[in-house]
Subunit: 227 residues, 2 copies
DNA sequence: CATTTCTTTATAAAATCTTTATACTTCTCA
DNA sequence: TGAGAAGTATAAAGATTTTATAAAGAAATG
């Protein structure tokens, strides 16, 4: 899964920095904007997955920034504000905010609310898939298929295939493959590797005698070729 | 546009009545439940567009009601609670709540938050039912049937099956399954898992010796295959 | 207390890994 | 070029690990 992008629009430097650190440590990609105008520009260019918007912005009324964003921006927007009067909250929510937190807010709660909003919105569940010719590797489901037909791989075979797929086009030496899949103590067991390469080819190559996906580089190692 | 249906689950009569009146005057259809058990039943039968859930319920822990609802209910859930401690809020949000309001809340704000949540969502999804071959899992009524014949499952078996069904096609590791169903301290008890998998297969597979629904991925875990 | 469900243990079966044997390919250098 | 060496491919047998299942005792349920 890809890191979610979060845009923070806040005029206070300290708060911006604090949020930056907090969000980064929760493994989000963070974008920062110091005022509404800048926020709108960055949002338009980067399409963040979520926006944290401080209502007490200097350059324009926060509510109008919210409205402008909502003209085209459909992902969640959370309002952070020192204002706790109901009128302001209701207006923000009716202007398209998905949540409203009164400052000082609690970090854990903010993070939970962010998770909650990202959870639903993430309809574009991009599950990472690697393809080479007829074979498709679905990393999230740990599923490999050849021409749509599921291929059953053992743990070791799968580890080997993944390693190849991740280094598509590159020659991987025997030592490297043995070290990565079996561990340091197996580095000299190259016969080992051959047995598994043969098994893998039997399962994914259309003609195992003339391999096109896992190609031998005599004396060095093997190479995974995607078409 | 049709009136939105809102289910209120709250044990206090006065609050329930107050919400009933407030919501009706905002032109919603209101359903009322006095405890978690009743709430789940009404939710299953009526598929409300939104649920207001009071966490201080008498019959069971509110968080567990929330979890049970979330097994199949996908529309917004707003938590109302007297508890304002962060832990409780974070837990509720992570258990699938879309919002959390601390009592006493302001009516106008609650209404705005309801509008906000109804604005997006309302992707009226059909029956939360999962099928694989002859077996049918009705998540809303917690009913499993094999060729139309009801299958009797223990709580643990059901929890396991649900976990599989929600991750159809994906390989679930032993550790993950053990953690989710039995808790962190059971992570290494994989023999355990095998016993329950065997039991489940005996109940739902047409030929338990050649399983087609719960497939073994040797060395890793199991995979649920829907047809 | 009877019944159901959970937990543990034992053992058989299956799948996978490891090793061995042998044939095949590619490379090297007289 | 072609014979030997080095490297590679593959099948298959044996060893090991992982999985399936029954069954018996413990705990929970009602």
């Amino acid at each position: 899964m890809n890191k979610a992008k979060i845009l923070v629009i806040d005029d206070e430097v300290q708060l911006r920095k604090l949020l930056d650190i907090t969000l980064q440590s929760s493994d989000y990609n963070v974008l920062l904007a110091a005022d509404g105008r800048e926020g709108i520009v960055i949002a338009a260019n980067n399409r963040p997955d979520l926006i944290l918007l401080d209502l007490g912005l200097p350059d324009q009324n926060g509510q109008s920034v919210l409205k402008k964003l909502r003209e085209w921006y459909t992902n969640p927007i959370i309002i952070l504000s020192a204002q706790s009067n109901e009128e302001e909250i209701v207006m923000a929510l009716d202007n398209g905010a998905n949540d409203y937190l009164v400052k000082p807010y609690r970090t854990g709660e903010l993070m939970a609310r962010i998770r909650s909003l990202l959870r639903r919105g993430s309809t574009d569940d991009l599950n990472p898939v690697i393809t080479s010719g007829a074979i498709v590797i679905d990393l999230a489901s740990r599923l490999v298929s050849n021409n749509g037909v599921p291929v059953k791989l053992t743990v070791t075979e799968y580890a080997l295939l993944i390693l190849f797929a991740r280094n598509e086009g590159r020659v991987l030496t025997h030592q490297y493959l043995l070290k990565e899949v079996w561990g340091n103590s197996y580095i000299s067991q190259s016969q080992y590797l051959r047995v598994f390469i043969a098994q893998l080819r039997k399962k994914i190559e259309s003609d195992p005698n003339r391999p096109k996906i896992i190609v031998t580089e005599s004396g060095i190692g093997y190479r995974f070729v995607a078409s």
